[in-house]
Symmetry: C2
Subunit: 347 residues, 2 copies
């Protein structure tokens, strides 16, 4: 089969690789219908996150089960499924607690020795614990596919940011980051009943989606000016809940600074600035808490899926370009130069 | 009247100062019955936290109302009261939310221009918002006074750590810090129904109190060895809730390291190590959250007081020495050299 492979910074290739097969009784093989490129893939693309030459890449996909191992009980060939961005055994203490990202048997698609999501098929370890079933007839629903695909990472991650920031009905929320995750954070906050949602962003196409997703205010400023503006908009107090969806030192500093005293920052941006943006002195005096991390998408997909199928949320709006597998290198380039927000790969 | 005054590092004196008077209609004057010395006073004593020469000191006291301003409606002369370690107006958004430490009209006893708690009397701003009434007959109850006094800071702060660490019935809890606040954190976690409480400490007198307060395990190690030991005790997983009651870089690093994936660190140790102990990379991958800060004691005193009066908790056990006002400098010295855990001042 063909799959996306990364050979070095800005060196993404589509190559012939071995077909996946059942290796353990708990495996399934999934033929990919849709995959996509993540903002976090760009860290590898840019060489900020190290990868071995020839490593697979991509961690978001949905597809049709082709074959299952003898110990798989919940799926059969022909099932349409979405995969969260990590696999997990579904039976350990952490999986039962809904923190599948801490499963001791878990792993990340595209890590060395495993298949990546940006390929024609994927061997899925612990299929029963990992996959979530979708309606079979949805596989052909071109209008629905983008929103189902968004569940594998960005929508679940935006939701994790909102949950970690303790968004409640009526909360004033601020969202730092206008990437696909930040926008899904706006949607998640809206879904949780936020009373006011301030989106920090300046790119008109993105802020337009933010408004569609429920943002009531848009702040185009950055750094000190953004902090000042959010304080102005909130009667000097800041936001009860701040979603941090970037992961840099400046974004974390901004997020903590615009939180209301007693408020919470939910961070899901993969940290790329160390802890330098975390001002513990400021957090202490103002009782600002900090929670979040890698989102346990598997825990959230069922409830978010129900809302997607009901038509209540349409996170798929974050996809603004679709490529085929051959177009993946170009898709990376487009996301890197910000000419595309998020690229979907249709097989 | 006489009060404690700090002139510089290790230079604590008892001096004649002006008698407090009603300056605003919302003031009360309280004649102090008991006060105490806080671990955080030692930062000033050691010269780590700057003070102006001649500044008052002490922020924990209880006493009898001597006089009230014309706008004070909830108290009258003769009332026995306890003061939380900050004053607050009781009417702003933050006071109504139970975050009185963020009251824009609030302040800290002993800050420049205000009375400190370690003196014969105190002018209390916003008496209605600040003070909490105690039973009048408790003023003469020598067995009860220490526990009532502990409500002004250490017990409320320990409780804040436990709440911030999200202690729930059945939780496995670890407490970093064997000072009075850490010990009260043990008591608070026990009161909230923790299933297991691991106290980190090596001083036998302190660990004995920890056991009395509900600690089920004591870990005398520090640093990496302590982390290893807590992991061993918890089947390799760490504690659901970690209370950080020291405030140094090492204690914060230990606290985050011994938290279970998905767990929370509740920190109340005044940060004296910057943010260096906060490893955001570790927090991210394991979904460890960090909350806490300066405790809104005023919000917690009523419920804790009820338990003290019912005899359900006895936080006053943290006091192991009592001095009179003249003995205060010696009390600081004893806490500084750790020959005393916490010193009570009886007037």
């Amino acid at each position: 089969m063909r799959a996306t492979v990364i050979h070095g910074p800005r060196d993404i290739r589509i190559e012939e690789v071995p077909d996946p097969t059942i290796q353990r009784p708990t495996d399934a093989v999934v033929r990919v219908v849709n995959a996509c490129i993540c903002g976090s893939d760009l860290w590898a693309y840019r060489g900020v996150a190290a990868r071995e030459p020839g490593q697979r890449i991509g961690h978001e996909f949905l597809g049709v089960v082709e074959e299952v191992g003898s110990a798989v009980g919940l799926f059969e060939a022909g099932d349409f499924v979405v995969a969260p961005f990590v696999w997990s055994d579904g039976t350990c203490d952490f999986c039962r607690d809904g923190l599948q990202t801490s499963c001791p048997h878990g792993g990340f698609w595209g890590s060395v020795g495993s298949d990546g999501g940006q390929g024609e098929a994927v061997r899925v370890p612990f299929a029963d614990g990992t996959l979530v079933k979708l309606p079979r007839d949805a596989a052909g629903d071109q209008a629905l596919l983008p929103s189902l695909l968004a569940l594998s990472d960005v929508m679940a991650t935006g939701h994790h940011a909102a949950i970690s920031a303790k968004v409640r009905p009526g909360s004033t929320v601020a969202v730092v980051g206008d990437g696909a995750v930040g926008l899904c954070g706006v949607l998640a906050a809206h879904r949780l009943g936020a009373g006011r949602i301030i989106a920090l962003g300046r790119h008109p196409m993105r802020t337009e989606i933010a408004r569609k997703f429920g943002a009531t205010d848009v702040v185009p400023d950055r750094g000190e000016a953004a902090i000042e503006k959010v304080r102005e908009l909130t009667g000097g107090q800041g936001a009860h809940a701040v979603l941090e969806a970037v992961g840099t030192e400046e974004s974390m500093r901004t997020a903590i600074s615009i939180a209301r005293d007693g408020g919470a920052v939910g961070y899901v941006g993969v940290p790329h600035g160390g802890s330098a943006g975390v001002d513990i002195g400021q957090m202490f005096g103002r009782n600002v808490s900090l929670g979040g991390g890698v989102a346990p998408a598997r825990a959230y997909i069922p409830e978010l899926l129900a809302d997607v199928l009901a038509g209540d949320i349409e996170p798929g709006l974050v996809f603004d370009r679709t490529v085929d597998l051959a177009g993946v290198p170009e898709g990376y380039q487009a996301m890197d130069d910000r000419s595309a927000l998020k690229v979907r790969i249709a097989f």
